[in-house]
């Protein structure tokens, strides 16, 4: 068993997990709840093992590094972060309808990592700029933030769907979702959590840049886009805290914010050029 097999299984496990949650939601089959959580937990453990084994394999090859250094590895870690964040959310709110709106992001990330021919999956040694412990701190903080934003986006959709019909019929799919007030609260808390980690991610990136290149900020497209994302969420949080924005507006901001995250993470690497270009292969 090698890491690529484990990560291949992870893809299907997350897809299955998403399928379970969507089934529970669509057929109101709450009795499968336990199974869905179990599938997700196992998928998460396989994902963890896959990352761990890849780390170990890189050491076996004599080029040991944390597997967080290229697009493939970051997508795998993104999926891992989403699953971890979601499991925490499910545990906290004891609500499984959230899964149908969160786990598809983890599946999508894993599926894209596995099936896209765009980037190499082989373990490759690190170029000198990436040989730093700040790499680990930077990637982990960023992706915890990104994961929270992905889930906030999913739950933003949940809010907008639920808000289309304020008084759904008893026993309908919409009625099984949490109340608008609760969804709104979850979105807000998730955004706040993500914002703290995004800030930490930008800061660790700046410290790293300073130790590698002697500038903590150089307005490189990736840096600039992370700052744009930060501005978007900062605006969303201010709108809520001081002007009482909530409901649909915050739901939309959660979605727009995540689009900015996607562009920062993915778009910049492929559409713009800059210091992070190594992330593209």
């Amino acid at each position: 068993m090698d890491s690529s097999q484990l990560l291949g299984i992870t893809t299907f496990a997350y897809l299955f997990s998403s399928f379970c949650y969507i089934t529970i939601l669509v057929f109101r089959a709450k009795k499968f709840g336990m199974a869905a959580t179990l599938v997700t937990t196992v998928a998460f453990l396989i994902n963890s093992a896959g990352i761990g084994l890849r780390w170990y394999e890189s050491h076996q090859m004599g080029i040991g590094y944390a597997p967080l250094s290229n697009m493939y590895e970051s997508l795998v870690f993104f999926a891992w972060s989403i699953a971890l964040f979601y499991l925490g959310l499910e545990f906290k709110y004891k609500n499984q309808t959230l899964g149908a709106f969160s786990m598809p992001f983890a599946s999508a990330s894993m599926a894209y990592a596995s099936f896209s021919a765009q980037f190499g999956k082989e373990i490759k040694p690190l170029i000198p700029a990436l040989q730093s412990n700040w790499l680990i701190a930077h990637v982990i903080t960023c992706f915890i933030g990104y994961a929270a934003f992905a889930v906030a986006c999913g739950i933003g959709f949940m809010y907008l769907i639920k808000a289309r019909n304020e008084k759904p019929a008893q026993g309908s799919i919409l009625a099984s979702l949490p109340s608008l007030k609760e969804i709104d609260d979850i979105i807000h808390r998730t955004l706040v959590f993500g914002f703290l980690w995004l800030s930490a991610g930008i800061i660790t990136g700046a410290v790293w840049a300073n130790s590698a290149w002697g500038t903590y900020w150089s307005w490189d497209p990736k840096e600039t886009w992370s700052l744009i994302t930060w501005f978007v969420y900062a605006a969303a949080l201010h709108a809520r805290f001081t002007r009482g924005w909530g409901g649909k507006r915050i739901a939309w901001l959660a979605i727009i914010g995540f689009l900015s995250v996607i562009f920062t993470y993915y778009g910049v690497n492929f559409l713009l050029s800059g210091l992070h270009s190594y992330g593209g292969n």
Binding site: P125, Q131, A206, W213, G214, Y216, H238, R243
Partner: protein
């Protein structure tokens, strides 16, 4: 207050302005990620046509993040932060230090969280009981005891209301650090050939020489490759020589591990393969050793010996050089052979035995930075994270207990409020209420 009536003050203190500024910053920042930055004017005219190219020049789009208008938006953002903070902080500070025992009694019954109880007996004993329950529950209370009534108050994390202002301050600190770095620091670069040294560097953009105040020597530069041909490590052995205090020390730097001396930092940034070559010969018999820097294709002699040598051919593969060497020590036939650069070969002749080392001569490219503002920036970063945590995850929780004598009994009203996280506070509050309920001398109403 007068300042509240001032239109200009209200404008700069408003959150609306903050939202608009954030929006403008976010959207204008995009421009510089789409238009390549810091290219010469000719580039923009060629890429975007003469009209657009000229417009770019007027708007300084070639270096937009340093342009007058972008800096103006950042300045507006800072003024907004400062005025907004000055405007709100006094009220928030009053909330933090206020004497909550002076809370009007009639407002207590309107608090979001309430529960009430009865205690039979005297005020003094009832007060003592309540105090004990609160202390046991982690809510150590202050009391205002009057003849027929007592008000107790306890709070947690009142200071967390300041968290958001810590975040505002942190942003200003980061800006301040950036300004310090721009005004009092510099960024430049220098190429030093192996064996060479410098006491000045050249500023980016202007190419102006900047004296260092000490000397830096490059003892050697080494490029290591992975088997795949990818670069594995760039390493420069540097020696700092400071005549002002007769200090001299060496450090080997790699990317991500720079050299720091007197606030000036030297980063491994690039390298250059030079025309010359580096040779070291060690005569095993005599124990003599000598280093040489020689040009390509020229015969060199080792003074005081009969040794003569030269590099007569060279091949470059994947950044590594293979060298063809001609060597003679006057005894036997001269030798010619191929060797890899940066390796040592043993040569035996009738008269001696030699360790012959040869390598391509490199120059190391160093980025040199002096940034006295960086610690202000880092302090701002830490303050930001702490401030965000405090502002988002801690809440100012307050609990009052009002005891008054009514019909020979003591009525106890427990009430509380929290600045945020109502759910978390609800748990705290019901845990405290539960302690009252559990007490035998207390009846629940």
């Amino acid at each position: 207050m007068k300042k509240n009536d001032n239109m200009l003050w209200r404008f700069f203190a408003s959150v609306k302005l903050a939202l608009i500024t954030l929006f403008i910053l976010a959207s204008t920042s995009i421009i510089g990620t789409l238009i390549p930055q810091k290219n010469p004017p000719a580039f923009y005219i060629k890429e975007f046509g003469p009209e657009l190219g000229r417009l770019f020049q007027i708007l300084d789009l070639a270096d937009m993040y340093n342009s007058w208008w972008f800096v103006a938006i950042l300045a507006l953002f800072s003024i907004n932060l400062i005025i907004c903070t000055i405007d709100r902080l006094p009220n928030v500070w009053r909330m933090v230090v206020m004497d909550n025992l002076r809370q009007p009694i009639d407002t207590l019954a309107k608090m979001p969280f309430r529960s009430s109880f009865l205690i039979t007996g005297e005020m003094a004993t009832a007060t003592a009981t309540v105090k004990k329950i609160m202390t046991d529950g982690g809510w150590k209370a202050k009391a205002d005891e009057k003849e027929n009534s007592t008000l107790l108050f306890s709070q947690k994390q009142a200071w967390c209301r300041l968290g958001v202002y810590a975040v505002h301050l942190s942003i200003l600190l980061i800006f301040a650090g950036a300004i310090i770095g721009t005004v009092a620091g510099y960024k430049g670069s220098i190429m030093i050939p192996e064996g060479g040294s410098t006491d000045k560097i050249y500023q980016y953009g202007t190419n102006k020489p900047i004296p260092l105040g000490f000397e830096v020597r490059c003892d050697s530069f080494k490029l290591t490759l992975y088997d795949s041909g990818m670069p594995k490590e760039y390493r420069s052995d540097l020696t700092v020589m400071d005549r002002s205090n007769n200090l001299s020390f060496s450090k080997s730097i790699i990317v991500n591990d720079p050299l720091d001396y007197r606030g000036i930092t030297f980063y491994q940034a690039s390298y250059d393969a030079l025309q010359g070559l580096k040779v070291e010969i060690y005569n095993k018999k005599t124990g003599r050793q000598q280093g040489f820097e020689i040009p390509f294709g020229q015969k060199t002699s080792w003074p005081g010996t009969k040794v003569e040598f030269g590099i007569i051919n060279m091949q470059q593969t994947r950044g590594m050089a293979r060298l063809k060497v001609w060597f003679s020590d006057g005894s036997g036939n001269p030798e010619t052979f191929w060797m890899d650069g940066d390796t040592t070969r043993t040569l035996v002749s009738p008269d001696g035995e030699y360790e012959f080392y040869a390598s391509q001569l490199y120059a190391t490219g160093l980025q040199v930075t002096k940034d006295p503002g960086v610690w202000t920036v880092y302090f701002g970063c830490i303050l930001m994270l702490v401030g965000l945590y405090v502002a988002f995850f801690l809440s100012h929780r307050r609990i009052w207990v009002y005891i008054n004598k009514e019909d020979g009994q003591c009525r106890v009203l427990v009430c509380g409020t929290s600045s945020k996280n109502k759910l978390g506070f609800e748990k705290d509050f019901s845990a405290l209420s539960e302690r009252f309920r559990q007490n035998d001398t207390i009846q629940t109403t």
